[in-house]
Symmetry: C2
Subunit: 363 residues, 2 copies
């Protein structure tokens, strides 16, 4: 048994050596901050010679990387976390496939799917070399869409529901931006964990019914438009059947947040994780004093910076992956673009009321 | 020894019986909510026959009771806690003296000072009967002004500094309304606990120097007007010598609160316990997400409702009383008015920029 394993390893090394060749690295970069369509350029930066990999180096190839709202903000230079210098490669998350490596055989194999867990390493690139210690291996049976969009939105939803209040079965939470990537994950995790999720979306002239139907297909039971929260009728219909929310999730700001506050339970927590309206969070003094409101913020990047080294990140991923396998957590609708077609991709990603996730990929 | 104690008790009972007589109860009441000067009336409600006291009953006489801003709000009907029915007697705190009682001799004696710890029992009354279980006995050597104003403002300051962040020696906190009753207590407790306290006050045309001098006489080291917080110079002068505040205390709202936010440390907590400007608390989304801001509220009445039964309230009072005795915690400037002179008292208490505490008392 032991000698056959050694033989297999020797064969593998031989096999790797044979495969070794040169890989052209294309990176979507900007050398100044500004409108993505103006500053982004696809640069052919280096070419990787796989035979030169050092110990623990893993050569990976892009499978798919989404364009998230935070990526746009970062390219515009309007984000709290910016590249240490320009030109820089952008892209905050994505799934890659192992091409070759010098790590010990048990850890990764060519073909494995991996998530690079380095915050300041842009994912919009065709190939890259990453240390085995900065990769999390994930199963390759969950679909590229799910894998590419796993580490930001579903993880944010997971932490929002777990880290701020203790939610028991039958408790209620309310969120605005219910159709956002995080919002869709909140709906599905809430259903999975037996929590009542009330989702608020912006009213729209076209596609409203389709949107509500889609959210209901994810398991949403309570979908309302912002205006509904200002109506007294909700007290009789909704709040007489489920408890008031212990937790409010805010990614909009401005009036949409005031609307959430109106219906929260006493001693509730409001967590702000986004500000789509570009309006601040305004809270009447009485809410803090007499209703014992607790207002917090959540930033997935800070959570990762604080938790990448421990086991919590991997544990969360594996729990989410299990849900994906059981079809309890679906990927958002995705539209794929080649890296080389980045102009069309960026344009599509910035369309208002867009609920489709744009994925960058390579041929 | 034992027989002499019995004899003493018998003598005491005899003595009490001799003292027993009728006490006229005057109560400052309103039978509708509105402007204090319009709705308050001094009613002669009952007369207490001390010989009719039941077991555990304690007959007490008002020494002094302040008019706090919350009292005004309550009379106006604009407070979260209102009397269960009208007409009601108002007044949220005050110190009384024991006149007579049917409690066991060891607990209270005539002449003892006591604080009634019943939230919905108005203190603006000449006499009253309270169960021994609803009284906290306090020493009578701390001055009527300190005793009358002990259970709201200094207790609020104590809880604000203790219950929200862990403050170490050398840490900084910042407060607006630095000249308020709570603000003055925060300055003194902060000094006592080796915390840097930055106090913000509203600019005023007259009396500014006197106000700053007064706050410095309490131990304030850093007093600024609101406008100073918007100036870049503060970064070089103040924030290069002491750390940024881990805790902000807000009793104003509106722009004054935005000014506080600007200078807080990352991951700071902002506690709102008042809203003098009647403006809401407005927080940019980025403060929550990227600076990890935590916004909370504090209401002394809720704390009391939750903690009256335990020993925490008495422990806090005794700690504060020790500070008063060592002259480390001074009473605010007080002005006394007879209950019968309530119209002048209420008018004085509502004057803008007033830093003198109005006390109601009886002849």
């Amino acid at each position: 048994m032991r000698s056959s394993l050694v033989l297999f390893k020797r064969f593998q090394t031989l096999f790797h050596t044979r495969l070794a060749s040169s890989y052209v690295v294309q990176e979507l970069q900007a050398d100044q901050y500004g409108a993505p369509n103006e500053v982004l350029k696809l640069n052919q930066t280096t070419s990787i010679d796989a035979s030169q990999l050092k110990p623990n180096d893993v050569l990976i190839k892009l499978l798919a990387s989404p364009i998230n709202p935070a990526d746009i903000n970062m390219i515009e230079g309007k984000y709290a976390l910016l590249p240490s210098s320009l030109p820089a490669t952008f892209g905050n998350e994505g799934v890659f496939q192992v091409v070759d490596h010098r790590a010990s055989d048990e850890q990764v194999r060519p073909g494995d799917w991996v998530l690079p867990k380095i915050l300041d390493w842009g994912k919009w690139r065709s190939y890259g070399i990453v240390s085995i210690n900065d990769l999390i291996k994930i199963p390759s049976d969950i679909g590229v869409e799910s894998a590419a969009t796993l580490s930001v939105n579903p993880c944010t939803a997971y932490r929002l529901l777990r880290d701020f209040v203790t939610l028991e079965k039958g408790d209620t939470i309310i969120q605005n931006g219910g159709n956002s990537g995080v919002g869709q994950a909140v709906i599905q995790l809430g259903k999975l964990w037996n929590i009542n999720v009330v989702s608020i979306v912006r009213n729209r002239e076209q596609g409203m019914n389709e949107l509500v139907d889609y959210l209901k297909s994810l398991g949403a039971e309570h979908v309302y438009v912002e205006e509904d929260l200002r109506k007294e009728a909700l007290r009789k219909t909704l709040w007489s059947t489920i408890p008031r929310p212990k937790l409010g999730l805010n990614c909009v700001g401005g009036r949409a947040t005031s609307d959430l506050l109106r219906v929260l339970d006493k001693s509730a927590t409001l967590v702000t994780y986004g500000g789509m309206s570009k309006q601040p969070v305004t809270v009447p003094t009485a809410e803090f004093i007499f209703n014992d409101l607790n207002c917090r913020g959540f930033w997935m990047s800070r959570w990762k910076a604080e938790n990448y080294k421990g086991s919590q990140f991997a544990q969360m991923l594996y729990e989410l992956i299990d849900s994906i396998r059981r079809n309890e957590l679906k990927a958002p609708h995705c539209e794929k673009f080649l890296l080389s077609d980045y102009k069309a991709a960026v344009e599509q990603a910035q369309k208002p009321l867009n609920t489709t996730k744009v994925l960058l990929t390579v041929a």
